[in-house]
Amino acid sequence: MSMQQLYLLIALSPLAGAIVVGLWGAKLGRAASHWICILGVAVSFVGSGFVLRDVLAGNAFNGDIYVWMTSGNVKFAIGFLIDPLTALMMVVVTFVSLMVHIYTVGYMADDPGYTRFFSYISLFTFSMLMLVMANNFLQLFFGWEAVGLVSYLLIGFWFTRPTAIYANLKAFLANRVGDFGFVLGIGLIVAFFGSLDYATVFGAAPKLATTVLDVGAGAPWPLLTAICIALFVGAMGKSAQVPLHVWLPDSMEGPTPISALIHAATMVTAGIFMVARMSPLFELSDTALSFVTVIGATTALFMALLGVVQNDIKRVIAYSTLSQLGYMTVALGVSAYPAAIFHLMTHAFFKALLFLGAGSVIIALHHEQDLRKMGGLRRYMPVTYATMWVGALALAGIPPFAGFFSKDAIIEAVQLSSVGGHGYAQFAVTAVVFLTALYTFRMLFLAFHGEERFGHSETAHIDDDSAKQLHEEPGHEEHAHGAAPRESPWVITVPLVLLAIPSLYSGWAYIDTVLFGNYFGGSIAIAAQHGGLATMREEWHGAVPFIEHGLLGLPFWLAAAGIATAWLLYIKRPDLPAKIQARTGALYALLINNYYIDRFNDWLLAGGFRRIGALFSDVGDRSIIDGFFVNGSARLVGATSALLRKVQSGYVYHYAFTMIIGVFALLTWWVGR
């Protein structure tokens, strides 16, 4: 088999699974359906492994599969670009996807939509692969929108729940706002480069570095800055950066396996991947880079604060995901693209692990997601407990776990940067280390340590916020609460263990290659003046000195302090959090309400759009156009005819009288002439 056929096989085998199971899932039955989908993704995973090996041997591929359309001398094609960046993404995506496929067998076992779910996640895998394998902007946009579609379908998987169908509409629309910017960026590229092909565009970009775009608003915009910011708006939607982040916490309405796969490990990193892929463009605009940096730092900081107050276990991890995506975005902004991709990779492993671990807890507690009703689970769920520890240490950035390496690399890159906003970013990414450790271990301690709070009566105090977050997932029988929780079956624990392994070792094992070796080669471009990463490379002496260096640095001690604080508040003195909460009422209210952004959006956007629509519909269409012009014309015609009808009365003396007047008038005119 040639490599080209292998690429096609990798992309299409999950699609084949999705189509077969989607159309005939009911007839095939559950077992056949999940085997077909798992097999499809397994083929992709193994194939991706071969592709990675091939890429490491120095091979690359860039070619079209078919020409989609041509118009006005622009070629629209579907094609693959296989280089180190793509190969790395392919392996990460297919590995996490495969783990999630297996895990789903256990997690969704009782759900009536079992086969539909498998069809969706296989379709997602296909879409994500098309996105990362694209060699042009058209296919990138195809994959981009397709993953959005699947995300929409999966958030609304339990479509009878009002919260789920609110969340999926919100997710799709927030993403569409991002895609709006993305399309404008692509449009500018086509307008000025005349091509959608990556290689052509990147090759021609330096020549257009000084081109300006006349937008008629005083000062013209530098073209590449406009393109990069427009593209980045797309990334802000998909990768949930402030202020388009609002959809991601709500997306937790979807089943937990997709929270792990789509809303943590892969789809939300599409924006990060895209910017890294576009590095030859972003490197030409310092304005765009500082925009990226500031947005990323804001997301990292403000979303981490929200993570500290959440009571829903999935929402803690969701806000953590937002914050970590902020880290990646900051890394992009300071031109440390390899560090962003490296953190994307380690984060995919440990965040998928944490989500799937949370799912294991949720299942064991019969769909209880409120941390205040957990506690002491370590005695009942040893495998989940141990793997969650690995995930938590990785997320908090404790050496030698994976997250330490990728996060420390980003923090160092920010320190060495001089891009606009780097001071703010440096403060944010450093402070967030403490917050990350705090919320992570708060979650871990509340769930697995302390007294057992599950199985208590349902009438326990529930404030309005947690009531919203409480769900009973349909299709599951209501087991008697109070029965001792049990460890999950092997289909759930095996993926946990398999994800814990790279969460443990992938940092020190790969940092040398991915970050400081020349792994990415030509697939990522960094301008000479953005040399932070190059400086780090010069000072690089291996993983062990990196750890030693890290142990002396501020971030490590902040992380340790975060863990210690969590220990103090949630194990040593569990009475303290309530007191702190009481003391900081206004701040707490601000945080628990997500800075009131949701309410603001509902009022301004959702409400405002409907008000504008009603205004146009009632006043514009109904009153002015229909009421005045159309019906007015009709009335005018009617009134005129009514008037004329009076003339034709049918009485002879009326006509005779009219004739006499006429004759008289004519005579007058004739005589008076």
């Binding site: 118009s71 929108e145 629309l173 399309v183 759009f609």
Partner: protein, 493 residues
């Protein structure tokens, strides 16, 4: 090679079938009328297939030309031909006719033969509109097609059909009369020719061109419909039976857009360039303003009708950008809208046949009782929202790209359809299909029948084909669009 007169067949096979259906009609024998109508529509589609297979894409010349004398005294001829712009519309029309006949299969119980005949005759007349190259012949077909549509709305329509008909009449009458004046004027100054293609070469002063532009514009803008002469469409849709809505949205709206490329752009190019800003402004108002209006509609058919107006705004926008990508994007959008709007109205029809309500508030949780239907409707909702991979994406994407090339802000405003289109379509989907079962009537719904499934399934294939591989469609257009743009670029002053 002697070729059959395929264009005449495309026009007359459906018309004759329609007349036959009427002729053999007996009230007891409804089945015969249905089968005859189906055979007629399939035959009507079959004779258009050679138009695609034998079409020579490399040339802008008219193909399959037929010329016969009709009224020699006034030099009126039976002159037919298609180019890369019109051939797809003929195919689309004949294809949709089959679906419409099939869609009315058991749903229509009252005056079945007349119903089927009206659609068949309508189909033939529409093919006439798309293929006529003689001004008078065009006018006859153009006016003639209104008659079956009036009857369809008037006989099988809803309770408020009289108002809708009057409104429709008021709008179209003024436009048609002005167009007739324009046609006669062109006849007189061209030295007695009604040939549309000869008019392309006619030198005209700017003042004359502007007057002609206004006359044609009125006729065609009402048909598209463009803002602000659009308000007849939602009322007509609401009153029309499902089949009527399908033909109205999928085909008759295209007549207006077709008029722009067949008459306005090549005959009065200087006026077109002079007034392009005006048309572009109206198109963008259609996209944005109508998008907002669609958002708040309580009636599903009205919502889709407004969505149609918004999507047709892309067609006129694309045409007046005067670039290949813009015009081809507009044409692609026409074909795609033919599929997607037809499917959307058929979906509403499926619900209406069961519940006899079009109000969104009467529904909720339809996906619980009609899962297969929900999947199909989701597909078409996404196509309507312009998701890549569906046909709805192709034309919109091309027009947005072409608009940005002309001016960034044009593209900016046009691209708002990505947000608005998704908002009104998916919000409707959420309220109708998602959620718990809203009431007992929704709880008692039965999923799509085999007929309904294949009807919608056929459109799924069409939407996917155009979305995943538009090249076979757009390749047909290139030569004709290049020629059209050459006409637009060449001054006639």
């Amino acid at each position: 090679m002697t070729m059959l007169p395929y264009l005449s067949l495309a026009i007359w096979v459906p018309i004759v079938s329609g007349l036959l259906v009427l002729a053999i009609h007996r009230d007891r024998d409804v089945a015969a009328a249905r089968w005859l109508a189906l055979i007629g529509s399939v035959a009507g589609f079959a004779v258009t297939i050679p138009l695609y297979t034998h079409f020579a894409p490399g040339t802008a010349e008219m193909q399959f030309v037929e010329a016969k004398e009709w009224i020699p005294r006034f030099n009126v001829n039976y002159l037919l031909g298609v180019d890369g712009i019109s051939v797809l519309l003929v195919l689309l029309n004949s294809f949709i006719t089959v679906l419409v006949v099939w869609a009315g299969w058991i749903v229509i119980e009252k005056k079945v033969a007349q119903y089927m005949a009206a659609f068949l005759i309508m189909s033939g007349l529409l093919n006439g509109v798309f293929t006529a190259l003689d001004g008078v012949l065009f006018y006859v077909f153009f006016e003639g097609m209104l008659i079956p549509m009036y009857l369809i709305i008037g006989i099988w329509g809803g309770p408020n059909r009289v108002y809708a008909a009057i409104k429709f009449f008021l709008y179209t009458f003024l436009g048609s009369v002005l167009m007739l004046v324009a046609l006669i004027y062109l006849y007189s100054i061209s030295g007695g020719s009604f040939s549309i293609l000869e008019w392309y070469q006619l030198p005209l002063s700017l003042k004359t061109q502007v007057l002609l532009f206004v006359a044609f514009f009125f006729a065609f803008a009402v048909k598209v419909p463009m803002w602000p002469v659009h308000t007849w469409l939602p009322d007509a849709h609401v009153e029309a039976p499902t089949g009527g809505s399908v033909v109205l949205a999928a085909i008759t709206l295209k007549v207006g857009a077709y008029g722009f490329v067949r008459f306005i752009l090549p005959i009065v190019p200087d006026a077109s360039r002079y007034l392009a800003g005006f048309v572009i402004t109206l198109s963008l108002i259609a996209v944005v303003y109508i998008g907002f209006v669609a958002l708040v509609q309580a009636d599903m058919k009205k919502l889709i009708a407004y969505s149609s107006i918004s999507h047709m705004g892309f067609v006129t926008l694309g045409f007046f950008l005067f670039s290949e990508m813009g015009v081809e994007g507009g044409l692609t959008q026409m074909i795609s809208h033919g599929f997607v709007s037809a499917a959307m109205f058929l979906c509403v029809g499926v619900l209406y046949d069961r519940m006899h309500s079009r109000l969104i508030s009467d529904y909720g949780g339809v996906a619980n009782t009609m899962p297969t239907f929900a999947a199909l409707a989701m597909f078409f909702a996404m196509a309507n929202a312009g998701l890549p991979g569906t046909s709805g994406f192709v034309g919109e994407f091309m027009v947005i790209l072409a608009a940005i090339k002309v001016n960034f802000w044009l593209g900016f405003l046009a691209a708002t359809i990505m947000i608005l289109g998704a908002a009104y379509t998916l919000w409707m989907y959420k309220r109708v299909w998602f959620g718990g079962v809203a009431n007992d009537r929704v709880g008692a719904l039965k999923d799509v029948s085999r007929r309904e499934f294949w009807l919608l399934g056929t459109l799924v294939v069409a939407v996917l084909a155009l979305g995943l591989y538009p090249k076979p469609f757009t390749d047909l257009m290139h030569a004709s669009v290049t020629e059209l743009l050459a006409h637009v670029a060449k001054s006639k002053l």
